[in-house]
């Protein structure tokens, strides 16, 4: 009976696994994977759990038998036999663990290379691809990797530059536009990230899609992720980076490839933003006619003006490439959250603009506590109107 105690210990864990399998809208848990990398990780974690459960069961069984059976009986003063040791036993518990570890070492090394896969060369280069072929042939765990790398053979892989800042994320797309805090990717395709940091070390982690990698100033790291399904995947900073480290979230938004292309085109054309440089006026007119917001034409174009007058534009780009000073707001109206923690309501946005330091301690945005209500409303209406998704759907 004591033998099963080790197993019983694992039961709650298994129950929690099952409980967490069905998650909500925003996907976070690594126990509920949505991509080949995360699936590989979970499969191999479970493999290691089985191997380790074996060790735990043996130790616990021996322990509990010893504790129950060899308790000193009252009045028994006889000395037990003073055993020196046993060579055979010592060899047994040296050799068996070596075999158990070997079982884990094989997928460890295989997986290390699988996840370190480099960005495939655009065309003609066979080196990278043949390596992929080998890898997917080797392990049964990751049939997905084979199919997805075949898909990529005909096309250029999407490579997104990631720069981490205290406490937000900048995503620069190859088409010359940026996104802040929310990164859009196509589904069923490996997307590569080149990661670095502008200040301290952060770590880029999307549990439901894969592993994590540090973003280090002066160093460029690479990793890939792939999502099987469209959806919103929560990402987090995993390396202590300052007072608001806990609030340095981001989101990966996966879309069907067709939809993604539309989004990408919309962002690249810059029409998501309501004004730009020389053609500011016409841009805002177009924007307001697109959006039938109740506030009317004037507020949004006033908002654009206020956005410039108040100096917001110094740090926050509203089209094209980001400044690196603050998150790009080109598609602010599409945001799931303001600064990744507040619901995207007008009230929360106002609170954020007035007192950003209270909400995210130590962040670099100066507060605007004394901004007049007129400008504030205009800016809020303007920001909420910036949407790539709405334009794209028309």
């Amino acid at each position: 009976m004591k033998r099963h105690l080790g197993l019983l210990r694992l039961l709650p864990l298994t129950a929690v696994f099952m409980l967490l399998a069905g998650c909500g809208e925003e996907r976070l848990s690594a126990l509920d994977p949505y991509g080949p990398q995360a699936e590989w990780i979970l499969d191999n974690m479970i493999l290691s759990l089985y191997v380790m459960a074996l060790v735990v069961i043996v130790v616990f069984a021996l322990y509990f038998i010893a504790v129950v059976k060899f308790r000193k009986k009252p009045g028994d003063e006889e000395l037990p036999e003073q055993v020196e040791g046993s060579k055979a036993l010592e060899l047994t518990w040296t050799i068996i663990p070596v075999f158990l570890l070997a079982i884990l070492a094989v997928p460890t090394i295989w997986g290390t290379y699988y996840m370190a896969e480099e960005v495939p060369e655009a065309a003609g280069s066979s080196g990278g691809e043949s390596e992929n072929g080998e890898q997917s042939g080797e392990g049964g765990d990751s049939q997905n990797s084979g199919s997805s790398s075949e898909q990529q053979q005909g096309q250029d892989a999407l490579v997104i530059d990631v720069t981490a800042h205290q406490f937000w994320w900048q995503f620069d797309y190859p088409e010359g536009f940026s996104a802040g805090n929310e990164v859009y990717i196509p589904t069923n395709e490996k997307v590569w990230f080149n990661l670095t940091s502008s200040d301290v070390i952060h770590s880029f982690w999307v549990p439901a899609l894969g592993g994590k990698i540090d973003t280090i100033p002066g160093v460029e790291n690479t990793m890939w992720l792939e999502a099987n399904e469209p959806g919103v995947y929560k990402g987090k900073c995993a390396e202590l980076c300052g007072p608001s480290h806990a609030l340095m979230d981001f989101k990966v938004i996966a879309m069907e490839p067709g939809q993604y292309e539309a989004w990408e085109a919309e962002m690249a054309s810059g029409s998501a933003s309501s004004g730009n440089g020389g053609s500011g006026e016409s841009g805002s007119e177009q924007e307001t006619s697109d959006n039938s917001s109740g506030e009317g034409v004037s507020t949004v174009s006033d908002g654009r003006q206020a956005f410039e007058d108040q100096g917001c534009i110094t740090c926050h780009a509203v089209e094209g490439q980001g400044t690196g000073q603050g998150p790009t707001l080109s598609n602010f109206g599409d945001r799931e959250k303001i600064a990744n923690i507040l619901e995207p309501t007008d009230e929360n946005l106002e609170e954020w603009i007035r007192h950003p330091g209270d909400i995210k301690q130590g962040n670099n945005m100066p507060g605007f506590p004394d901004m007049n209500d007129e400008d504030m409303n205009a800016i809020i209406q303007y920001l909420q109107s910036l949407s790539a998704k709405e334009n794209m759907n028309q």
């Binding site: 864990l13 967490l20 909500g24 976070l28 848990s29 690594a30 590989w40 990780i41 191999n44 974690m45 290691s48 380790m52 060790v55 735990v56 130790v59 021996l62 322990y63 010893a66 504790v67 060899f70 000193k72 028994d76 037990p80 055993v83 020196e84 040791g85 036993l89 010592e90 518990w93 040296t94 663990p97 570890l101 884990l104 460890t108 090394i109 997986g111 290390t112 301290v200 070390i201 770590s203 982690w205 549990p207 592993g211 994590k212 990698i213 540090d214 280090i216 100033p217 002066g218 790291n221 690479t222 929560k234 987090k236 995993a238 202590l240 980076c241 007072p243 608001s244 480290h245 806990a246």
Partner: protein, 624 residues
Amino acid sequence: MATATATNTNKSVLWDWLTTVDHKKLSVLYLIAGALFFLKAGAMAIFMRIQLMSPENTFLSGQTFNEFVTMHGTIMLFLAVTPLIFAFMNFVIPLQIGARDVAFPFVNALGFWIFFFGGLLVSVSWFFGGAPDAGWTAYVPLSGGEYGDLGLDFYVLGLQVSGLGTLVSAINFIVTIINMRAPGMTMMRLPLFCWTSLITSILIVFAFTPLAAGLALLMLDRIFGGQFFNPGSGGNPVLWQHIFWIFGHPEVYILVLPAFGIISEVIPAFSKKRLFGYTAMVFATLIIAFLSFMVWVHHMFTVGIGPITNSVFAIATMAIGVPTGIKIFNWLFTMWGGKLIFNTAMLCASSFVPTFVLGGVTGVMLAMVPVDYLYHDTYFVVAHFHYIVVGGIALGLLAGTFYWYPKMFGHMLNEKLGQLMFWMFYVGFHMTFFIQHILGLIGMPRRVFTYLDGQGMGTMNLVSSIGAFMMGAAMVVLLINVVYSAYTSKRITVRDPWDARTLEWATTTPVPEYNFAQTPQVRSLDPWFYEKVHGDGTMKPAEPMDEIHMPNGSILPFCIGLGLFVWGFGMIMMQMENPLIPEWIVIGAGVIVTFGSMMLHSIHEDHGYHIPLDKIKKTEKEVS
């Protein structure tokens, strides 16, 4: 505790403790200092668990939480567990090897006071604009000049000073164990606690030196505008991580090996059996120590060092599982076939075995690089290393406390309160940390001061917090036990209240200042047990009774430590705006006190004193 000597009967108690070079008194000093730091860091843990009890809690701000998380880790590792193991090493090693003291009693006191003042320097940061806040690992650039506040200067200089004390003590222990063993105490008859202490001391020498170098580089960067870790000027922040973990990984073994040693003493004593596979245990310890320097990159798998390096270090890390497994099974087979007595010491020691296995298996899981990409820097890691440091080290220290307490203080700790403490601590521990494995897997990074609602983390964090409160309550019970036992427990007059096996139980209780009136002749492993079974129950003397040469106490170790504190504080003042007095005066004063004391020690001839024969005979008659 040792009785007052003839030379200092006219001096105050305080002066006696400030100047003592007696290893037994220094052990008590280490114990008190370590316990105070432990309580402080434990209280911080309780505060952090209150903050994390519910989502989006506002009990602590992000900044305060970061300071707590940093100080909790820094204090626990450098200023709590290190002195606590040193307390046991100081008390037990000379007794177990049949020596009158450590090799260099003056240096022993020096080690303590330097450590103590270094710890004090880290601690006073609270009064000067806040504690360090970059985690106990102090990764640059967050800990560098641009992002780290004054607290980090206290971290750098305080740890530099206290690390010096630790190094000094370690060298002393190495020399003691190699040179001071009684006749017949060969290396392969050395009790396992002495073996693990020896290896720990060697690890300290090799691991604390890179730490000292790293801290010096960080100090140069912070205070003197160095650019070692600044990527903008050709420096590299990853360099710090390498230096830190070359120290940091062996540090884990520095702390856990003496705990292994304690377990290896307590389990045989209360199983009434000799340690199973003594030779295998010794060699397993050596292999663990050797491998501990080969695995530091497993703390840096996500840094992006490349698949080749990661693979090599993954295999090296897994290899450590083998010798550790050997130890686990040898402990199990020591208990197997024995006559187990479950008092508090044995409860702690034996429950260490399955608990440590749980920490060990997650360690192997963490070695799987690609899966570590998931675990790294999450609560899974937090759970893993707390299974090692609490389930391993803390249980070992508790076992050691209850086991050696009668020899150290002349009375037992109360058994009922002890067992109550054990069960509260043990249940609380598993409640706190087991569930944190799962928290990590569902997406909770470590060192977060809060987490958003609606991520399914609330309940599990609440359970974890309740467990932490239970552990806190258990520590209160321990404190009550110490006070209660001091007043109510019966004095112990026998040598060997546990019917144990090693040489420390052959000394009289309380242990006289010279430990052994005559150096004992060792005839076997577990010499005291051997004499009880095969001899007449007393140790055979290896020398005739004669005068005993003892070292004089000295205030100089205290002065050297104080001088280093003042120097360190002066260095930190260079970073302060408008200090009250110019910093160079403070730095100069510190340097003069430290080097002046050293000079004084060099030119002042002190040959110690001799305890006359009739006094020894009188003392021996009194206690027996």
